[in-house]
Symmetry: C2
Subunit: 270 residues, 2 copies
């Protein structure tokens, strides 16, 4: 999916919501466990219910890998089921030396039809670049994350007088363009958003941490929206586990719809 | 596998060689392509040939993920085929917020029987700790890697007057112990090995970059061996692609045996 297509999708649906499919077999409603593929059955119901109010789905690969081969099958079925109507994100935090990153890009962009994959920057340029060489595909590189551990390394000050995550943003943005590169910026880091937007004015951010992790949608939207919106705000647990009974998909829709309505309000001002 | 068991294995086999199964379906001998699972057939032959001269196998997950579900099946079969006679490494460079890293640990330590997984440190403590909470299992955290991109971030000087990778080594070593935590240190970074050993005197290092990437086994062994050896030196392409014909496993054995003989020489002095 191109940047232009993504922006158009956001304007049409009046939403920059990304639904995170962190599907944990231990947390899905009991009645689904009799299905042949409970994880896929859960995802299918969530996708059917939320399609019209979101523009992206983020599949957290860890939850699928934890189930072994069966999980990898559910992952593959899920991304194919979503199809081309949404921007798809393999939230996989990959990254390795060049010839290995090439293989990861192949895994998510060729063996499976993902639009994008999240990438860890620690190993530098040759670990990121292979994800930027597929037309219409995106690398979403970790900038400043939403977790407590962000302070351990990401927020360390460098001798060049910037924090590590700022160095990552400025270096990595030279390796790609706003057409094939986004950054992960945690919603819990709202006080940094103005500075981050200064460093990378035109890039999209994938923003996790709203909902279960406590970030504010209002604050993020006010501080970080740009001329092309530039935001995909993700909620996972707050949406997909909104209900625990047979009406779980309906409950998920209600929460997703609330986010969409709130987002429509911020889009009016854009 | 415990540290004690690993050290004993090294002393018995007179080898600290790790064979890297970066098995690329486009590089394996043609005649294997008629097998039902060519990747597993290749791995099985390499494992049978090299078992006696190495103590570890490192499976680079990217090459398996690139094949989709079939690849994940080959990965699973390979680690089970190796069994308990060797230390097994899922070279997967994982790492995410706590609840997600938990799932990755489950994937490699429960759904599959790996002894260890390589972990990217960028996201800090809560992204690493879940890999340290499984008895007899190990996290192998990226310290200083062998690729060109290591200079982009890992070698950046911090205001605390250490390089980022040094901060990673000292911080991460407080989150675990030499009994459940190793570091990845690239063989091409030999000039840093003395300083790295000072910072982490008792930890094992997984050292890739010998062979195809040009690192020197002699230099690493002289600079970084400790009282418990403390080294697993990996070679992938140099061993597994030593031959291209029907005798590929025999050729792989010959190269692996050369490494083992050289290693035995360095072990005498230990």
């Amino acid at each position: 999916m191109t940047r232009q297509q993504l922006v158009q999708l956001i304007r049409e649906r009046q939403s920059y919501l990304c639904v995170g499919l962190d599907t944990d077999i231990e947390k899905i409603p009991q009645h689904l466990l009799q299905e042949e593929d409970p994880v896929f059955a859960f995802n299918k119901a969530i996708i059917d219910a939320t399609r019209d109010v979101c523009v992206a789905y983020k599949i957290n690969t860890a939850f699928y890998e934890a189930l072994g081969v069966k999980g990898w099958i559910a992952l593959d079925k899920t991304v194919r089921y979503i199809g081309n109507s949404h921007f798809t994100i393999a939230d996989a935090k990959r990254g390795d030396i060049g010839n290995t990153s090439d293989q990861y890009a192949k895994a998510f962009f060729e063996a499976m039809p993902f639009d994008s994959v999240t990438v860890a920057p620690y190993m530098g340029e040759d670990s990121v670049k292979p994800f930027l060489q597929h037309a219409g595909k995106w690398a979403i590189v970790l900038g400043l994350t939403s977790n407590k551990g962000a302070s351990d390394f990401e927020l360390q000050p460098l001798q060049s007088d910037e924090h590590l995550y700022e160095k990552v943003l400025t270096s990595v943005s030279n390796w790609g363009s706003p057409d094939n590169l986004m950054f992960v910026i945690g919603a819990t880091q709202a006080e940094q958003f103005v500075q981050i937007r200064k460093l990378t004015p035109h890039h999209f951010y994938l923003v996790p941490g709203v909902g279960a992790q406590g970030g504010s949608l209002k604050e993020i939207s006010e501080k970080a929206m740009n001329e092309d919106i530039g935001l995909l705000v993700n909620a996972s647990r707050a949406i997909i586990y909104a209900g625990k009974g047979e009406d779980f998909a309906e409950q998920a829709y209600k929460v997703a719809k609330e986010y969409q309505v709130e987002m429509a309000g911020y889009l009016v001002k854009n």
